[in-house]
């Protein structure tokens, strides 16, 4: 690492930040619309489900595009990591993609199928739950380490399946459900909003439980990660992460307890996700495929990274700009007649 200097040192780090940003955007944005699907079984009334769907319908497609950017970002900037991770996580990856097929088409099919939409309600919900589970499995599997020989993945198809990855999967399902429920608090009104508030408090408790569990389990299971967090003076520098987590948990709880606070539960739930993500990044950096492939090992040719970074620098501000524009256009509570169908 010390041998690297200048561009060879910084370029991969900047690229890692870009891919990391895309993944974070995906987790937060698709998180709340996957969360809507996860919550579907608990909101059986058709009129509620119509509104829940309409609250995310204008956004889901753009949200999911961040997943494509995350995947292609890895291919573009770190082809070696991409070529190892994708075969290693083959089973949960393919399962997630197929689950996303079901839930994605449900956004349109459900309306065309009416009044026989029940099967697409199930497709939407089951697809969302399975996709979230698989994403957790992939995270857990990645942290658990990948068997590599001669630069290629050399493990079995179910290496990722561990108690720890199961925990990550369940945690992500509950976490996305919290994002979805607080989104509904912000975007809907009446009984739907009240019920979302109640669910969100339960889910917040669950999420905090998972955060505590993962925070204890990870350093115990992976000594390298334990050393990073619990050595002096790292402990001091990293203390803001758990402290801020506690702070936003309180903000979220109080917002949900009130009847009038609309926005802070969602934004503090997002903050909890961002903090958990920062914690994850702290734990695994500088590795893309722990414990062996670092951002520098996996980096694409510098000219490829530069060529794409130019595009990122010019285009991502535009993308963020019109994303904000669309969220602004469809701001406020969902009206009953909102759908175009």
């Amino acid at each position: 690492m010390s041998a690297l200097s200048g561009a060879a040192y910084w370029l991969p780090l900047i690229c890692a930040a870009v891919v990391g940003f895309a993944v974070a955007m995906y987790i937060v944005l698709d998180g709340f619309d996957l969360g809507i699907g996860i919550l579907f079984p608990f909101f059986p009334r058709e009129i509620d489900r119509d509104q829940m769907m309409n609250s995310v319908a204008p956004f889901w497609d753009g949200n999911e595009t961040w997943l494509v950017l995350g995947g292609t970002g890895l291919l573009v900037m770190f082809p070696h990591a991409y070529a190892v991770v994708m075969p290693a996580l083959y089973v949960p990856l393919i399962t997630m993609l197929l689950a996303l097929v079901f839930r994605g088409v449900a956004f349109e099919f459900r309306w065309v199928a009416k009044p026989h939409q029940a099967k697409w309600d199930i497709a939407f919900s089951a697809g969302s739950i399975v996709a979230a589970l698989c994403q957790g499995f992939m995270l857990g599997g990645l942290l658990g380490g990948t068997h590599i020989e001669l630069g290629h993945f050399a493990g079995g198809p179910f290496d990722w399946l561990t108690p720890f990855s199961l925990l990550c999967g369940l945690g992500l399902v509950v976490g996305y459900a919290l994002l979805g429920a607080t989104w509904l608090v912000m975007k809907t009104a009446g009984t739907l909003e009240r019920r979302a508030r109640r669910s969100a408090r339960l889910l917040l408790t669950g999420v905090l439980g998972f955060i505590v569990l993962v925070s204890i389990w990870t350093p115990l299971e992976f000594a390298r990660i334990g050393a990073r967090w619990f050595s002096w003076p790292n402990m001091l520098y990293l203390a803001p992460v758990p402290l801020a987590t506690a702070f936003f948990a309180v903000v979220c709880w109080r917002g949900l307890a009130s009847r009038r606070v609309m926005f802070s539960p969602f934004y503090s739930a997002v903050a909890l996700f961002v903090l958990a993500y920062i914690g994850l990044v702290i734990s695994i950096m500088p590795y893309l495929v722990p414990p062996s492939i670092s951002v520098w090992d996996a980096a694409a040719a510098p000219s490829s990274q530069r060529f794409v970074l130019i595009g990122v620098a010019i285009l991502v501000p535009f993308i963020l700009g019109y994303t904000v524009f669309v969220y602004h256009t469809f701001r406020g509570k969902v009206r009953a007649d909102e759908g175009y169908h």
Binding site: P58, G73, L93, L98, G311, T329
Partner: protein, 468 residues
Amino acid sequence: MNAVLLARLQFAFTISVHIIFPAFTIGLSAFIATLLILWQRTGREHFHRLARFWTKIFAVSFAMGVVSGIPMSYEFGSNWSRFSEVAGNVVGPMIGYEVLTAFFLEATFLGVLLFGWKRTPPWLQATAALLIAVGTAMSAFWILSANSWMQTPAGHVMRGGIAYPVDWFAIIFNPSFPYRLAHMLTAAYLTTSLVVLAVGARYMLVGVFQDEARTMMRMGVGMLAVLGPVQLLLGDQHGLNSLQHQPAKIAAMEAHWRDTGPMELVLIALPDEQARVNRAAIVIPHLGSLILTHDWNGRVPALADFAANAQPRVTVIFFAFRIMVGIGLLVIALGLTGAVLWRRGRLFTSRWYLLSVGWAWPLGFIAILAGWLTTENGRQPYVIYGILRTQDATSPIAAGTVAASLAAFVLVYGVVFSIGIYYIRKMIRHGPHGAAVAISPLPHELPNQPLASARESTRESRAQPPVI
């Protein structure tokens, strides 16, 4: 079956299903944008009804395109990880630019187009449709550039088995790219035009939605009559380009086994890959030379001129190419016939013509799939022509795992997309909303009854579809 063949089948299956939707939505978005602009200009309501009608079909198609497209961006890694390592430096950035310039634009403004009817002004609707149309074309630009680089690699240098970029302009505008882009975009616009024309003709036959049907038929015929012949020229140029850069592909397309003199054109035959001859062939002497070299006695390299391990298999390529060209000629005939009928004022009354174009809607899709089968099989046995063999490009994944995921893809895609296409058919039969034409509600469901009116207010009326 070995893992390489299974991986190829999986890619062929997933991309063939996927391409159906972009092939349709590239043209459809441009059509919708045109309709909205016409509506803005003229204020005529039926343009607006048509735009909204096709927007709903666009939404369903686009959703299927998105969900079948996301797996593609991961399949490079899951099934073709060694390809990703070898080509990632070069192909990766082009796919990255596709995401950055096209996917976000399309996905985001689709929200505005679909849900903004009540919230945004009409000009913004038209702009959103236009941006989506531009986005779809940009997407085609980058992905075809990446594919063309795999066909005719340029602008790179190989070091240690890995491709490194040297000249980005040469990479993006590699030798076959301009031809492939023009050929594919035109094919996409033709495909949509055929569907629009077919729907218009079917409404016309049944006598419903007459204003809308006339507009659809005129626009459809106009597009076919102009773009059909253009496509013939583009295809010819594309073929000449392939002859220059991938002569083995051309030899396989024409089942041209040995170069013994002026090349004949094999109209149809049964290529025998073992004996390396054509059975039951119908040929026209010299025509092959004329088409491919634009010279009566021109010589064309034959399969025998290439090493055995650098030749593609002939049968699939030979037939797929003939299907594509045959459909192309048929489409030109339909377009020109329509133009003549239009000029004589009989476009909407010639029943035989309405019947034929009413069944012409799948032609574009079939031709596009046949064309891609030709060009992708023609690149074999390479995945990157002359650089990386397909057999060396897959992931270290056991055949059983690939087979299982292939089965899952076939099952899920088969169910989901069949239903989707059934829904599109249902929407087409239902027709443009708001057209208060000759469709009467069933006797027991008159609008003044509470049940029916409640349904009217919650969703669009499901009036009995006309039988078409």
